[in-house]
């Protein structure tokens, strides 16, 4: 079951920029005001993970894609792109609901 929310084209292009060109460190997605489309809210190339967490609001839902970089012993640096659903308990039920039911759409890239 899905809510039928659409995805803005910009989301895909920004994601491609992150994945192929490494232009961004992370992308935060949000829904537009009418709750009909997923849009890019913020992109950043700050390397600090704390800065990324600080960008997520405490009482609202978001999705995010984070380019996680880690050292593997004896194998050098690796990158893993991770997708996060941000759904705090304090968020409004309606928002949690829309975000939960639209997640699969935002997963498409």
């Amino acid at each position: 079951m899905a809510s039928g929310v659409g995805v803005n084209e910009q989301c895909l292009t920004t994601f491609q920029e992150l994945k192929l060109k490494k232009k961004h460190k992370y992308i935060i997605f949000n829904l537009n005001k009418e709750l009909t489309e997923i849009v890019v809210e913020k992109t950043s190339d700050v390397q600090d993970y704390e800065a990324f967490v600080a960008d997520l609001p405490e009482t609202e839902c978001r999705w995010a894609i984070y380019d996680f970089e880690f050292e593997k012993e004896g194998a050098g640096k690796r990158n893993k792109i991770v997708f996060l659903s941000w759904s705090p308990d304090d968020a409004k039920i309606k928002q949690k609901m829309v975000f939960a039911s639209s997640r699969e759409r935002s997963n498409v890239p």
Partner: protein
Amino acid sequence: MVNYGGDEVSALVIDIGTSSLRAGYAGDDTPKAIIPTSYGFHPPQPDTDVVMSDNTAENPEQPAEKPKFSKIYIGQSGPSMWRAGMEIGNPLENGLIRDFNPIKPLIEHAINKVMLCNSAEHPILVTEPTWNTPANRERMAEIMFEDFNVPAFYIANTGVLNAFAAGKGSALVIDVGQSMASVTPVVDGFVLRKGLAYSPLPKLVYAQARHLITAPTQHRRGVELIPHQLIASKLPVDVGAMPKFTFREDRIAGTTESWRNWAEAREVDEWVQTVAGVLEQGWNDQQAAQRPARQYEFPTGYNAYYGSDRFVVGEQFFTHSPALIASNPNLPKSIPQLITEALRACDPELRQVIMGNVVLTGGGTLFSGLADRLSNELARTFPHAKIHAPGNPIERRYGGWLGGSILASLGTFHQLWISREEWQEHGKPIVGQRCK
């Protein structure tokens, strides 16, 4: 012409459970109409036709074209009012609708009488338990389109709605209602049907509570459950003393067995909600004895203290005593058993995900201490388990309705409705195709 629910018309959401039927506008945070699912009725008299037409003229509330009852009483002053010769029925059995006859009057009452709106003007979303049968949901669609003339209809799964209402796309939904306890794994908004586990566990808890109240022990006399409708007057008495009360003699002859059962069940329910509990750390005789006893007064005026045995009742949710297992091989599965069974059907990678998102819902989970006990039990086997249990009782009891309310209020949801035109063109199969 509006094809189906445009943005300006709000949809209605109906959630039918064993204890109550919830109905309200999509987008609201509480249902507008909450009426008991049990209904009172008079069985048809031999000369039904004449009596029926008389009754309809006097009382516009009852639609009497159904042959099964000559008169039906629904709503807040339905079953709970004493009437001579009134029987009580409940259309649900094990969480599923078994008898569709009273469904129409029940929904009609909720929408037309309580909410005062016209069902032909609003799209309607109905919820269903995961173990609902295809025949049942098609019948529901038929009633909606043919009897209520709704412009559009959708049927959604309570497990998915509860997960969404908690903000989770994937979750393990533990739903304890009045008659059924179920564990449903939901993954990316879809129910994993093979992982569904359910049992009539709350009924066992109820039977245990009833036994505890009515059977005498050395500290207490057994209580005769007499509903307040049958009591004319009572006097205050000391703890544990014989109650002093007088019967309403005039009512005894007209009281039917089904009404008596229903009223006694309510007394037991009330006792369970006030007194019964479950120990947070698992069963322990000492701890149970240390907890303060609680006093409870029955409608007869009899009152008593319930000490450690009030925790025996709640313990049934988690473990069954060996004596009970020996006496009854077909016991309903306890909550830990249901969870194990549900997880066994899931892929090992999925187990991690859904155990991190456990959603607790249903009126039965408000049982005192149940959420704490469950999180302790889970922590033992799954160190990463995280339970989401809304603190607000409304959110907990009406989680399924709430999810439906939000889903139906989304502008983008409108493409999913089954419209009247589609129903007329495709008929019943479209319900199975559209509502997955």
